[in-house]
């Protein structure tokens, strides 16, 4: 084909350029601009998308001023029957007026064509967290100094004016008292500390007991189903019952302690006033964190921002994942990716060494190479369905029948879990590692191998001490790319063990520490679940953007590492040439 083109080219040029020889203008510059457009559009798309996620993702944590909006009395807009609304102005936009007829549209005033979206908070009081108001109906927008924005355990954030703090000893501190803020801050810190204590007791200490009790219950169920018990089994059964009693005895004081702490959370009552004038109260234990958004300096905002970001990254989810943090999802992604790497690395590298160093290069190896390259292009969902059919049902079901028959019919390994998810993704990414490793091995100059062999080293010694170290960065690149692909993949995980809310982490302090059979949370699935399974997807959107930002950062950083390592390598190997 190439040679054909060469043969044809000169004639074309001669006849077409006959008349343009007078012109100094090169031909086809117009089309160069068209190709430039392709690149511009492509780059703009990616920059815009990343920018969108970064701005929206970080924007979630940035404390914004809270506006008090007063409506014009002569217009119809009211909020909860009153003329005032309090909230964060999130969007200002053109109204969608297309449901109006053309005549109606023409008669609209310019101000009426715009609208403001307000984040109202106080879902418990107003029933909705967001509302749109026509800009033309707004008389004034002010930023009152004493507004508090509080993050609560339930019902999301609240925006209100503080009224007073009623302590358990009966003393009452009014909001205009100079010590009010410091006192409230202290109380909120106290409840936060107690909350951490309760969390520690309930999740870890009681959780460990629950887990053991669950295992004992399974044993007991197994014994109760047997027709006849041997003497050994009878004594085992008695031991199970004894152990159960012990655990119950351990459980009770812990539960009491948690209940005591919990009751302390509700000692102090906080009274606040909504923009509608209603006074409401809540126990201080409800407040996770609060601040005066309109009193903040830039530094103050940055501090709040950092605090909110940290709570998001390190916290556990609340309220069906729409509030709180995403720590379990980050942790699940991390552990899964790590397990996947442990599984994929040795196998991928071994297969590549075989293909490049040991196998006789011929038709077979070529076919295998093509097949492996193709496997990298097979849709991930195919690996997912394979993982479910093979790992979960076939292998997992087999393990259950052999080792966990006491728990049946409740599956232990015969259902999705972090082990099967990691193995499925390892299978999916093994072609990536093989291809990258092969390329890295091929890049090691032949002379290195020959020199080593000539010095009397064995083949394995050559590979072990010369080829592998030289190609290690390349292999690492492949692994990092595989990790990036594995961390971002969701479709196969949905089939083999990811869940929206896992009660336990796959790694904890209870023997055997790594719980391979547990289901886990994953950043990608968290996005899917929040955005598509939660009842109010509008309210969940900030969380989705924030989670997306974390996932993208993770994947992009992994990729950047791979790209940098590779670029560095290229230079090194070009320098190797004589």
């Amino acid at each position: 084909m190439g040679t054909d083109a060469n043969r044809r080219a000169p004639e074309d040029i001669v006849c077409k350029d006959a008349d343009s020889r007078r012109s100094t203008r090169p031909r086809g510059e117009t089309f160069v601009w068209v190709t430039a457009m392709g690149l511009t559009v492509g780059l703009t798309m990616i920059v815009f998308l990343l920018g969108l996620v970064v701005v929206n993702g970080f924007g979630v944590f940035w404390p914004r001023s809270v506006a008090l909006i007063e409506f014009r009395e002569d217009r119809g807009t009211r909020f909860q029957g009153g003329t005032k609304a309090l909230g964060v102005i999130t969007i200002e936009q053109e109204r969608d007026v297309r449901d109006l007829s053309l005549e109606q549209r023409a008669s609209l005033h310019a101000a009426d064509r715009r609208e403001k979206q307000l984040f109202l908070g106080n879902r418990d009081a107003f029933g909705q967290a967001f509302a749109f108001f026509p800009a033309g109906d707004i008389r004034s927008v002010t930023y009152p100094d004493d507004v508090i924005r509080a993050e609560r355990l339930e019902w999301g954030d609240a925006l209100f004016f503080p009224v007073r703090l009623e302590m358990e000893d009966g003393s009452v501190i009014q909001a205009d008292d100079p010590t009010f803020n410091s006192l409230l801050l202290k109380r909120v810190d106290d409840v936060a500390a107690r909350r951490a204590q309760i969390h520690q007791i309930e999740r870890y200490e009681i959780g460990r007991i629950n887990l053991q009790m669950h295992q004992l219950e399974q044993e007991e169920r197994f014994y109760s189903r047997q027709d006849e018990l041997t003497a050994q089994q009878r004594s085992d059964r008695a031991a199970v019952a004894r152990r159960m009693d012990q655990l119950r005895a351990q459980y009770q004081p812990l539960a009491d302690q948690a209940a005591r702490l919990r009751s302390k959370q509700h000692q102090d009552t906080f009274v606040y006033r909504l923009v509608t004038g209603d006074e409401r109260s809540m126990s201080v234990g409800q407040i996770v964190h609060y601040y005066y958004p309109n009193r903040l300096t830039l530094v103050g905002r940055a501090q709040i921002f950092a605090g909110q970001l940290w709570r998001f990254l390190s916290g556990f989810p609340r309220e069906a994942n729409t509030e709180g943090g995403i720590f379990p999802a980050i942790f699940g992604t991390f552990v899964m990716t790590l397990m996947m790497s442990v599984a994929v690395m040795p196998f991928g590298v071994m297969a590549a060494i075989y293909l490049r160093e040991y196998a006789r290069q011929g038709l077979f190896v070529r076919a295998v190479r093509i097949a492996i390259n193709n496997l990298a292009g097979v849709p991930s969902i195919v690996f997912g369905i394979f993982g479910l059919g093979f790992f979960v049902y076939f292998v997992g079901g087999g393990i259950d029948r052999m080792f966990f028959d006491r728990a049946l019919p409740t599956p232990t390994f015969g259902t999705g879990g972090i082990l099967w998810a990691s193995l499925t993704l390892a299978l999916m990414t093994v072609p990536v590692v093989i291809v990258a490793t092969e390329e890295a091995l091929a890049a090691v100059p032949r002379g290195v191998r020959e020199g080593s062999l000539a010095c009397g080293a064995s083949k394995w010694q050559t590979i072990r001490y010369l080829v592998l170290p030289a190609s290690a960065p390349g292999i690492m690149t492949g692994l990092v790319l595989a990790m990036a692909r594995g961390a971002g993949e969701v479709a196969p995980l949905m089939l083999v063990g990811v869940v929206a809310l896992a009660p336990n982490l796959p790694l904890d302090s209870v023997f055997p520490f790594i719980h391979l059979e547990r289901k886990f949370m994953h950043l990608g699935f968290h996005i899917y679940d929040l955005g598509f399974q939660s009842p109010d997807s509008e309210a969940a959107k900030p969380m989705v953007f924030a989670t997306t930002l974390v996932l993208i950062l993770l994947v992009v950083v992994l990729n950047l590492v791979a790209i940098l390592v590779r670029n560095h390598l290229r230079k090194k190997f070009t320098a190797d040439k004589f």
Binding site: M1, G2, D12, I13, P26, R27, G28, T30, V32, W33, A36, M37, G38, T40, V41, G42, L43, M45, L52, R98, S101, L102, R105, A351, I353, Y354, Y358, A359, I370, A371, L375, G377, V378, P379, I381, V382, F383, I385, F386, L388, G389, G456, S458, W460, A484, G488, E489, V490, A491, M494, G524, I527, Y528, F532, S537, I552, V556, N559, I563, N567
Partner: protein
């Protein structure tokens, strides 16, 4: 090692330690075995998926299980319990004889025993009919009365294991069907829960009379009370011959009468009155039109007919668009039986039925028009029953021997036609491709065609490619041929990062952010896109007209940066212009108020008759571009950059412009590589899952409208597999979908890969 001798000639420091050699040999072996087994294991994915699919195409397996003696009598009805363990036979007098088929000779085996309805001694039974779906007998007496008898089986699970089936009869009192005190000859009953009707045929002197009664059930707090006759209807006016068959569907919304001359009348009951809705002749084209058998299939909306010559057809109830009413129409034809059917039994969990006559028994599946199993049995069959769990078949022969057969047919609906052919499903007026794996009712007919899913996959791929392909190819040509090398170092990683964006992120942005924006501003989006293309052409042309001293201000290779402001400006203009265009051109009149409304979302369905959804193929195509563009870009760019530098230098030296060089020299040389890039991009688009799951409505469609969604093979797996029972038909069908997907991408990728390797060798020859 050979011993003493070499030691004298070779100094000891040159001798290899045996351990080293041993270890080397071991690693040789270990890596070969390990490497090969990994490669084999990876390729086993295909084999495993294939193994999951293959059982779908296996036929029914039937094997004899045993025979039992039945007391000799003249039986008219045969029925069985859910587990086919305690079948019963009804003789002409109306007595039920139960035969235990479990553990013959064992301690718990019961000899045949008889049960009778309480009133049987007082009446003379003239007809008994059996509704297997309700496990209910219908008795007609010689003095014109009727009653229903429920055969209530109950299973208990005793401590020692196993199952014990006991039986109890629950009968209604006898009720009068018509004033004439003559024998009831045919009887049928239907009860939907809301209404119930009974129809009966009698012969008064030489005239045939048809009467129907509607029944009401007293509902009390304690449960369902007794049935009693509400109203009576005389339907004899609709008879103009001798009725042979009489059926009432379980919805109790009509009566079907099969005449002895081969006509079938369909009377529709609207809750108050009967109207004659249809008259049809199932075997109009045959010489002998007489109907030998006429029975319902599960769901009571399909009728299985046989003619005396053995022809076997199914008529189903569907909405006739011309009459706007549900009428019966011919939907399926089966291979002929040897003769008209003398026995019939419908399955109770799918659309299979057991039919035959004489020695022949045939198990057929209605949806696929297929014969699952057919055999000439070594006895003359008088009655047959298909086990309600579709796991057993019972035959009674003329010597009063009951033959039990085990039936193993886990996937009766699976056939080539089911997955890839058009099928006329129940209730539909024409054959079609459809996917609907679950429905609200037990008698729901599964629709498992993969064609809408394959078309959906192609639709998504198509819209992704028409968007991604131009951008990716143009960008690759520019990057490899015109871009400054120092910019290239920055551009390529950026595009590669685009490739790494998780598809769940793209799907989320597509569905929750982009879809509302695009669907609100379709004309603006289209205009902005068009404006950018036109702007590129215009700017390029005008730039060429500028005097050289201005043109040299912009170094070649920086055009893409210079285009950024132009693009933003033009895109904004196009966006705003779109709203103007919408206001002027995409106007519909609201039919209810007569107001003029300018809204593309309303205009599009109004103007084209197609649907408009917010989450549509256009959005998916746009966002899938993010996944496909970088792949095509990277591989194309590699292919173009790898064209030997000598080609380019030669062309430029001969006076060709950079564009001429790129398009006439470099592009043709790298064409195989570009083609392979497109193929690999295609493979990615075909398999993309999360974007489609999230950004479309996941409705299976067979049209290419850009403003509706679709369901792709991959999305279908993700959506349905978690709900599919292990090893069931749906589970295996989803594996079949995965196999199709696997093969599609594997083929495309193999072609691409072979092309690429060939290209690489060609370059090597040039260099």
């Amino acid at each position: 090692m050979t011993k003493q001798q070499p030691l004298k000639t070779i100094p000891e420091r040159f001798v290899v330690r045996p351990a080293t050699l041993w270890f080397d040999r071991f690693m040789n072996y270990f890596i070969t075995v390990g490497g090969l087994s990994i490669i084999i294991a990876v390729s086993l994915i295909f084999v495993f998926i294939l193994l999951q699919v293959l059982p779908l195409f296996r036929g029914a397996r039937v094997e004899p299980q045993g025979t039992f003696r039945v007391p000799g009598d003249d039986y008219v009805v045969m029925g069985t319990d859910e587990w086919s363990e305690l079948p019963f036979f009804v003789n002409r007098r109306g007595e039920l004889i139960f035969v235990d088929t479990v553990d013959p000779g064992g301690p718990d085996h019961r000899p045949p025993f008889t049960q009778t309805p309480a009133w049987l001694d007082e009446v003379e039974v003239s007809v008994v009919a059996y509704n297997a779906f309700r496990s209910q007998l219908l008795y007609g007496t010689s003095d014109g009365r009727f009653a229903t008898v429920d055969v209530q089986y109950e299973a208990t699970f005793p401590e020692r294991g196993g199952r014990e089936v006991s039986v109890q009869l629950r009968e209604t009192p006898l009720m009068r069907i018509s004033p004439a005190e003559v024998p009831v000859q045919r009887l049928a009953y239907g009860n939907s829960g809301n209404q119930a009707i009974v129809a009966a045929m009698q012969q008064v002197h030489d005239r045939y009379e048809l009467h129907a009664v509607s029944l009401v059930q007293q509902r009390t707090l304690l449960g369902d009370g007794e049935l009693s006759v509400d109203r009576s209807y005389d339907l004899s006016e609709h008879l103009d011959g001798k009725p042979e068959h009489l059926l009432v569907p379980s919805d109790a919304d009509g009566v079907l009468i099969g005449m002895d001359d081969g006509r079938v009348s369909y009377l529709h009951f609207d809750g108050h009155e009967f109207h004659k809705r249809q008259m049809f002749v199932p075997f109009r084209d045959l010489d002998d039109r007489r109907i030998v058998s006429m029975d319902f299939l599960l769901g009571d909306v399909s009728l299985v007919f046989t003619a005396s010559c053995g022809a076997n057809r199914i008529f189903s109830l569907y909405r006739d668009p011309q009459r706007d009413a549900r009428v019966w129409g011919h939907t399926k034809t089966f291979p002929d039986l040897e003769r008209g059917a003398s026995f019939y039994s419908a399955a109770m969990r799918n659309k299979a039925f057991l039919i035959g006559g004489g020695h022949i028994a045939s198990l057929r599946y209605a949806t696929t028009e297929s014969v699952r199993w057919e055999e000439a049995l070594p006895f003359w069959i008088t009655h047959a029953a298909l086990g309600p769990r579709y796991d057993r078949m019972l035959f009674l022969d003329d010597q009063y021997t009951l033959h039990c057969y085990r039936l193993n047919d886990p996937h009766p609906q699976a056939a080539w036609r089911t997955f890839f052919g058009r099928i006329q499903y129940e209730g539909q007026s024409a054959p079609e491709f459809a996917w609907q794996s679950t429905g609200g009712r037990d008698d729901f007919e599964r629709k498992l065609s993969l064609v809408p899913l394959i078309l959906g996959t192609l639709k998504g791929t198509f819209y992704a490619m028409i968007f991604a392909l131009p951008i990716a190819l143009l960008a690759a040509i520019y990057t490899s041929q015109f871009l400054r090398p120092e910019m290239k170092r920055f551009v390529k990683p950026v595009m590669e990062i685009m490739a790494s964006l998780p598809s769940v992120v793209l799907g989320f942005l597509a569905a929750l952010w982009l879809a509302p924006i695009i669907s609100n501003a379709v004309p603006s989006v289209l205009l902005a896109m068009g404006a950018i293309i036109v702007a590129a052409l215009v700017v390029g042309y005008l730039w060429g007209l500028l005097p050289q001293r201005i043109r040299v201000q912009l170094k070649p290779g920086y055009e893409f940066l210079a285009f950024v402001p132009v693009m933003l400006l033009v895109a904004y203009a196009g966006w705003q212009l779109g709203f103007v265009a919408e206001r002027h051109w995409f106007v519909v009149e609201d039919p209810s108020t007569g107001l003029q409304i300018a809204d593309f979302r309303l205009w599009f369905p109004y103007a084209t008759g197609l649907g408009f959804e917010q989450r549509n193929a256009f959005v998916v195509g746009f966002v899938m571009g993010f996944a496909v563009i970088p792949i095509i870009f990277t591989i194309t760019e590699d292919a173009l950059s790898n064209v030997p530098e000598a080609f380019r230098s030669g062309s430029l030296a001969l006076g060709a412009s950079r564009w001429q060089t790129a398009i006439r020299i470099v592009l043709p040389t790298a064409s195989a590589g570009i083609f392979s890039a497109i193929m690999i991009g295609l493979g990615r688009a075909v398999g993309e899952t999360m974007i489609v799951v999230m950004a479309t409505g996941n409705t299976p469609v067979t049209e290419f409208n850009p403003f509706t969604g679709m369901r792709t093979l991959s999305a279908n797996i993700a959506v349905e597999l978690p709900e599919a029972p292990y090893l069931g038909t749906l589970y295996r069908t989803l594996f079949l979908g995965a196999l199709v997907l696997f093969l599609m991408t594997f083929l495309v990728n193999t072609v691409a890969e072979i092309l690429r390797q060939r290209l690489r060798e060609k370059y090597r020859a040039v260099e």
